[in-house]
């Protein structure tokens, strides 16, 4: 009996593994008629994008936006879960998550691999946070050659941005190291303040302004060096096509109703939709 159990569980594992290679449509097919469960992965420590609030519940701009979408979509039920950067993306690859929200900007590879709603969920503003005395010296990416730049995580959009810049400007390379995203934004800003690094390229929607004001740091924040719309990424499967279209519709409605601007004001202190037109 025991052997039989072992054997069947072993077979089950094999089947699951085999399923990973081929089509993986079984994963989200439970309860077709009724409410469909959508597994959503968000970052759990990217304040104010998505983070764990004082009450231990996930909250943040994207989380609240997702909840608003969830309310609009009667047929779907979102299960929002916190996951680390690369775990989220791998989970989306394998179909463990149906939807990924990490303030993600588009790239060719992402467009190929995932379903992407037509409507963005707001723009991400890339800004440079420079040591106070670098004001006038560092104003755009062109000024970063020869400067000490805060290490960049390979999963982030900053990595892609700097690599793309270096490809276009072979004579004017920005030198930067890569590192795990473990050092908090507030400590990175402190390091820039102390002159350990000259400049910190970062999407400005991570609450930096709050940190700078609270800690009284002497930091020069540039105008946005790049404005990118951010999107929710959806696991590529036939069933999710409908989900993508509905999410897109809901986003458009929420923008019109002013809910997006409201959330933006609540979490960012400004209406980020004003940058979207550019």
């Amino acid at each position: 009996m025991r052997k039989l159990l072992l054997l069947t569980s072993f077979m089950a594992v094999l089947l699951v593994l085999a399923g990973c290679g081929g089509e993986e449509s079984e994963a989200s097919s439970e309860g077709d008629e009724a409410v469909k469960a959508v597994e959503v992965a968000v970052s759990s420590s990217s304040r104010p994008l998505s983070y764990v609030g004082d009450d231990g519940e996930l909250t943040g701009y994207e989380v609240e936006l997702l909840r608003a979408i969830d309310e609009k979509l009667g047929d779907y039920e979102f299960n929002i879960e916190g996951a680390s950067d690369s775990a989220g993306e791998i989970g989306l690859d394998t179909g463990q998550y149906d939807l990924l929200a990490q303030g993600l900007i588009l790239s060719e590879e992402r467009e190929e691999s995932y379903l992407i709603p037509e409507e963005s969920n707001g723009p991400s503003l890339m800004k440079i946070f420079a040591t106070g005395d670098q004001e006038g010296e560092i104003e755009s990416l062109d000024d970063l050659a020869g400067k000490k730049v805060v290490p960049v995580t390979p999963t982030g959009g900053v990595y892609n941005l700097l690599n793309a810049y270096n490809e276009e400007h072979p004579d004017d390379q920005i030198e930067f190291d890569t590192s795990d995203g473990g050092i908090p934004t507030s400590d990175r800003l402190q390091e820039v303040n102390d002159g350990v690094y000259d400049a910190f390229v970062n999407p400005s929607n991570l609450g930096q302004q709050e940190i700078i004001e609270e800690a009284g740091l002497d930091i020069h924040v540039t105008e946005p060096v790049e404005i990118n719309p951010t999107y929710f990424l959806i696991h590529d499967s036939e069933e999710n096509v409908e989900l993508r279209d509905k999410v897109s519709e809901a986003l458009a409605e929420l923008k019109e109703e002013g809910v997006v601007s409201e959330l933006s004001n609540e979490f960012y202190g400004e209406d980020i939709l004003q940058y979207e037109a550019e």
């Binding site: 690369s86 691999s113 390979p154 190291d177 890569t178 795990d180 050092i183 102390d194």
Partner: protein
Amino acid sequence: MFDIMTVFESFVEILKVVPKTLLLALIILVLSFMLGAAITYIQSLGIPVVKQIIGVLQSFLRGTPNVVLLYLVYYALPLVSAWFLGLFNVTLDPSSLNSTAIVIVTFSICYSVFQSEIIRGALHSLDKNQIEAAQSLGYSTTQTLRKVIIPQVMVEALPDTMNAFLIIIKALSLAFLVTVVDIFAQARLVGAQSFSYLEAFVAAALVYWGICVILTYAIDKLENRMRRGYA
């Protein structure tokens, strides 16, 4: 979506950082071994207050995860070393401290505790009568150490040390926190470029495993050789 060719390409890319990772792990192993030997020696002397202090330190290091210590050293080491060198009127810019140095210091301290336990265990396996016999033959302390104790203790400690080496290699994946690129970090970089993390991580697993297989084989051979003449 799982592409075996990508695994192969990632594998080749990852191999490039293997020598660096192994060297780093070896430096850490040697340093932690020396530190561990020192700890074992000091503990064996049984000096009242010192013994307790080291005991507390040992239990602290053993009970805290490497990643926490790495954070602490990352923040504290530049300040501490600048202050320390300042005592000798040498000025050091705290920010100029190399991140590799931070990793080496953290992991050497971390694993010295485990090494000291390995050495202690190996010492225990040694028959006390052998030392008495050596002394009765007129061996000096250094001679006893060199001719009797160390050769045998080395053989005893070898498998565990080898184990520690593998653990260090794997633990180095944390070093990416402070920009040191090891096997796993390289896998993440490769994965980020092609957006195929799964393939890159599979390749990384294969690289780790390959290293383990080769090392185990080599150490087994070495151990057999060293045991000859003692067994």
